[in-house]
């Protein structure tokens, strides 16, 4: 099952190839350097790709394979709309304060419960959203308990990256993989959630060892937390009920979207439309404008830039190089994909990374099984572990450094505002070992499940 070296000749390295490759590399370099805002780089880079004819506008805007994957965009924007409408109900403040009270104001218990809550919420919401919902309450609780907030913020960010890995909608890389590989919500849950549960448990045992002993507070401070009335924040019970109803419908829709033959974005868009309708929003402009447009346009631009380099054959060339390297050994490729993805995602944004890897893996599959196409190719039994390895590597890898995941960037920013900056080195000191631990577990899981027991 080795790749045919002759396939290399299929990539024509002409002027278009080098122009597109140069654009791609310059765009990546600018994104990594942070000299120019990544959204601006993506929009401008994409427009140049189209203007130069490397990708047509038709492909860029209307081809799911080469251009903007609207399934991803509408899934993201719809979930953002739902959360934006739901945010003022106070439900998230309720959950976080309630968690601290369930923990009886005991610091380590609070850390564990908030981490688990963050992980579970991240499985259904965007990680950044989750962290932005949990972190402010965490800061307040640490103020009340007169505790250093850093360990709490760190553990929450990492828990959010772990939890987000469990489902199709938990983290953008998964959304992108699902859309490209036409995988449904249940497959993600069935293949990723089990190992994430294990990873989360080990993670909590590990933070117990790291932080468990340091955390002590006086009883009178705990009293402050116990006196908080979590029900006080539920200002709009009618909107809350409507939001919870829509959230329930949406999550049920995700569970059954494969059976119902609906795309995840359809489910989310229906949820968003329904909530807009029943919440009686008078001026939807604000709700829509509050969506993270900088992030969404970053996605759109990236899809087009990647479409350009796919079009000229760069991605195909790269896939051939990978196959040459692994000599078509699938277990080896799978492990390389996972570890490479983890370390790559620890240092660069996992969104452009996965946007590049998706077509690369598909091209690799085309080299390996030239006769297969469509779902037979995408869901080839030997290809499936590759998707899961990519998802696990790219999502868990985010924990490696302070810039590995958007959630990390957020908590580092919050810590700095709180007057307790977390240096790049300090984050890595905690993050890197925890990441290696979780990816090791994931590696064992993939090996055992897909190569040893094969179920």
């Amino acid at each position: 099952m080795n790749a045919e070296p002759s396939a290399v000749t299929q990539v024509v390295m002409g002027a278009q190839f080098w122009t597109a490759t140069a654009l791609f590399l310059v765009a990546y370099a600018l994104i990594v350097s942070e000299k120019v805002h990544k959204t601006v780089v993506a929009i401008f880079g994409a427009s140049v790709m189209i203007v130069l004819g490397i990708i047509t506008q038709e492909e860029a805007f209307h081809s799911k394979d080469l251009g903007i994957d609207w399934n991803v965009i509408f899934l993201l924007v719809s979930m953002m709309i739902i959360i934006n409408i739901m945010k003022p109900t106070g439900a998230f403040e309720y959950i976080a304060v309630k968690s601290a009270k369930v923990a009886k104001g005991q610091p380590f218990r609070i850390m564990v419960i908030l981490s688990v809550v963050t992980a579970v919420m991240s499985a259904f919401l965007d990680n950044v959203t989750t962290v932005l919902l949990i972190a402010p309450v965490t800061l307040l609780i640490c103020q009340a308990l007169e505790l250093d907030v850093i360990p709490f913020l760190l553990t929450e960010a990492m828990a959010s990256n772990i939890g987000g890995t469990a489902t199709l909608i938990g983290d953008p890389p998964n959304i992108m993989i699902a859309s490209k590989a036409k995988l449904d919500f249940v497959s993600f849950l069935f293949n990723l959630a089990p190992v994430i549960v294990v990873i989360l448990i080990v993670y909590i045992l590990t933070i117990k060892i790291i932080f468990g002993k340091k955390l002590q507070v006086k009883d009178e401070l705990r009293q402050r937390v116990m006196e908080m009335d979590e029900r006080a924040t539920l200002k709009d019970p009618v909107l809350l009920k409507k939001s919870l109803l829509v959230l329930a419908i949406t999550i049920t829709g995700f569970m059954f979207h494969g059976v119902l033959d609906l795309e995840p974005a359809t489910v989310a868009l229906f949820g968003a439309g329904l909530l807009l309708l029943i919440s009686g929003v008078k001026d939807p402009h604000h709700i829509l404008a509050e969506a993270e447009w900088a992030t969404l346009f970053f996605f759109m631009g990236l899809f087009i830039i990647i479409g350009g380099v796919v079009n000229v054959g760069l991605v195909k060339w790269m896939s051939i190089q990978v196959l040459n390297l692994t000599h078509g050994n699938l277990l080896g490729t799978s492990m390389i994909v996972m570890w490479f993805s983890a370390f790559a995602s620890a240092f660069i944004d996992n969104i452009p990374y996965v946007a590049t890897m998706n077509p690369l893996i598909i091209d690799m599959a085309r080299q390996l099984w030239p006769d297969a196409s469509g779902l037979a190719l995408l869901h080839h039994p030997d290809l499936m572990p590759m998707w899961w390895s990519l998802a696990l590597g790219a999502c868990l890898g985010g924990n490696g450094t302070a810039i590995g995941a958007s959630a990390n960037v957020i908590v580092v920013g919050l810590a700095e505002k709180a007057g307790k900056p977390i240096s790049f080195g300090k984050f890595m000191m905690y993050g890197m070992p925890l990441m290696v631990e979780s990816v090791t577990i994931a590696m064992g899981y993939v090996w055992l499940r897909y190569y040893v027991f094969k179920f």
């Binding site: 403040e93 932005l132 307040l140 908080m228 006080a232 924040t233 505002k417």
Partner: protein, 169 residues
């Protein structure tokens, strides 16, 4: 016409600059300054003062609101957390903020007005930027006075109450 114009430019309504803060002052010093500053003959104490550096350049403005913000945790406005505060929180945060300096807590993006700007431009700046006082600059960008919302208010009140008598002025 000339005589009337004299009344309606920023420079005619401003309080000439007498008191101001230094960026390196502590909050304590600033608070004392705010409490003792002369605003006009009949009253004492102001809600805001400009901050000038050693060269006399305007670098910020400090108001009561800024001092409130200095003890207000940055994470509070991110969500609805007002219900989860505790008694003594403000005081305890205030004690922690004592050693901060003026340049740390002042508003750095100062909205100013030129001394020859019209009264409506002053109102425009105040309302658009939601500020209640404007440092008045001369042509060389030097602060020559402060224009307070209260004084604009009195001009409006005067026009409202003495409707029709305007021409005699």
């Amino acid at each position: 016409m000339k005589a009337r114009n004299l009344m309606v430019k920023a420079r005619n309504l401003m309080v000439p600059l007498t008191d101001y803060l230094r960026p390196e002052s502590t909050i304590k010093e600033a608070v004392n300054m705010l409490r003792s500053a002369k605003r006009d003959d009949e009253r004492v104490g102001v809600k805001g003062l400009p901050v000038l550096d050693a060269g006399g350049k305007l670098v910020g403005i400090l108001s009561m609101g800024d001092i409130l913000k200095a003890v207000y945790p940055f994470y509070m406005p991110m969500m609805n957390l007002g219900d989860f505060t505790w008694d003594g929180m403000v005081e305890s945060l205030a004690r922690q903020a004592t050693d901060r300096t003026v340049d740390n807590i002042m508003t750095k993006n100062v909205i100013t007005i030129g001394e020859n700007d019209s009264l409506m431009k002053c109102v425009d700046q105040m309302i658009k930027n939601k500020v209640h006082r404007l440092p008045v600059l001369d042509d060389s960008n030097k602060v020559v006075g402060m224009l307070y919302e209260r004084d604009v208010f009195f001009i409006i009140v005067k026009a409202m109450l003495e409707e029709g008598k305007d021409k005699e002025k």
